[in-house]
Point group: C2
Chain length 188, copies 2
DNA sequence: CTGAATTTACAGTAATTACTGAAAATTGAA
DNA sequence: TTCAATTTTCAGTAATTACTGTAAATTCAG
């Protein structure tokens, strides 16, 4: 590993432990992510000085996260792995997986809690707070769902626009009348 | 604790360990979040059956995350804590803290790596991948920054609109000519 | 100031999580 | 099929992280 790769890998190791995924797994992912070609478990173990079995476990976890993909090389029996190199794709995968693992269970818990009849004054207040949390999460995930289905050009256009969308919305409110009157079109 | 609160607290305990914050801290937060009134360390320790010192450490961490606030009660020397109950506010705090702790260090590492002259072919490829990651993170955080400064009405309007913004953008492209011609206004 | 109430620090221990090596299982070329 | 190559599993151990009790520090009413 060159110093450049080494520092990237080290950073992912440290960050990894900051959120659920452990140091080893973070390092393995980082190595694969920046690698030009798919790597096999021995190469990874050698580069990072991990035991073969540790690498195997790490790869299994990364596959469960869909962050690495198994690639077979012609005429080689060993399993090679690479990672989607497009950052936006990686972001989407991460978002989906975290949603499945963290958001959905939480929403489900909240939904159940909100169905209960509050037994006490305390319960009513608690339920109120939970309702707020539930509403926000639903709103954010619904929105994110939709955004994911937008084409990337629109998306980047929208992001570059940033808070100026606000002006667009205000402006459109006025424009609708003029344009709608002229063209017969309205914005649904 | 009522069963309702108990299950909420338990869920946060489990989820807590899934991302960096530990079980205890998650439970303390959950308890404070749904509580009607500020709680002191003894009350928390009693409700959750944690030692006094464990509660103290947990509260310190939650304060560092700005997820709980110290509130003094008149005529009581003990320290009481409550949590912002508005879910959107909590979301913003979390976003800011995670940004500071995770995003910023990563951006900084990436920026440094991108300044290096690639020593090998491998390095060039690695740098290319890092550049992609850096660009996406910059774009997302810049955008998120701006969104945070939008007023909440616009924001919720925008979210409810979801992917229909896409249509709005397309439509506006056409409308600009008509409306601009009529009113002299253009969208900056 | 003083000292009781309260919070914090920290060393020791418990619990959890990560890692290894060896053995078992699987795979696929011959 | 067979068997060597390869991957996976898992029990044991190492390392890390979480938790407790005690002692020290801090705070503030009197």
């Amino acid at each position: 590993m060159t110093p450049l790769v080494r520092s990237f890998v080290a950073h992912f190791g440290e960050m990894g432990s900051r959120w659920g995924i452990n140091r080893t797994v973070g390092q393995i992912y980082a190595l694969i992510y920046v690698s030009q070609r798919p790597l096999n478990a021995d190469e990874i173990g050698e580069a990072l000085e991990f035991s073969r079995s540790n690498v195997s476990m790490g790869l299994k976890e990364l596959q469960a996260w869909r962050l690495v993909r198994l690639k077979h090389q012609a005429g080689d029996r060993r399993e090679y792995f690479d990672a989607p190199s497009d950052a936006w794709e990686v972001f989407q995968i991460l978002a989906e997986e975290r949603r499945r693992r963290e958001i959905e269970p939480t929403l489900s818990m909240l939904r159940n809690a909100l169905l209960e009849k509050p037994a006490t004054e305390e319960d009513s207040v608690a339920q109120e707070r939970m309702r707020g949390m539930h509403e926000l999460i639903e709103m954010l995930t619904t929105w994110f769902d939709e955004v994911q289905h937008m084409d990337r050009t629109t998306l980047s256009q929208l992001m570059k626009m940033g808070s100026r969308v606000q002006k667009l919305l205000e402006f459109t409110g006025k424009v609708k009348v003029i344009a709608g009157g002229k063209t017969g079109k309205t914005i649904k």
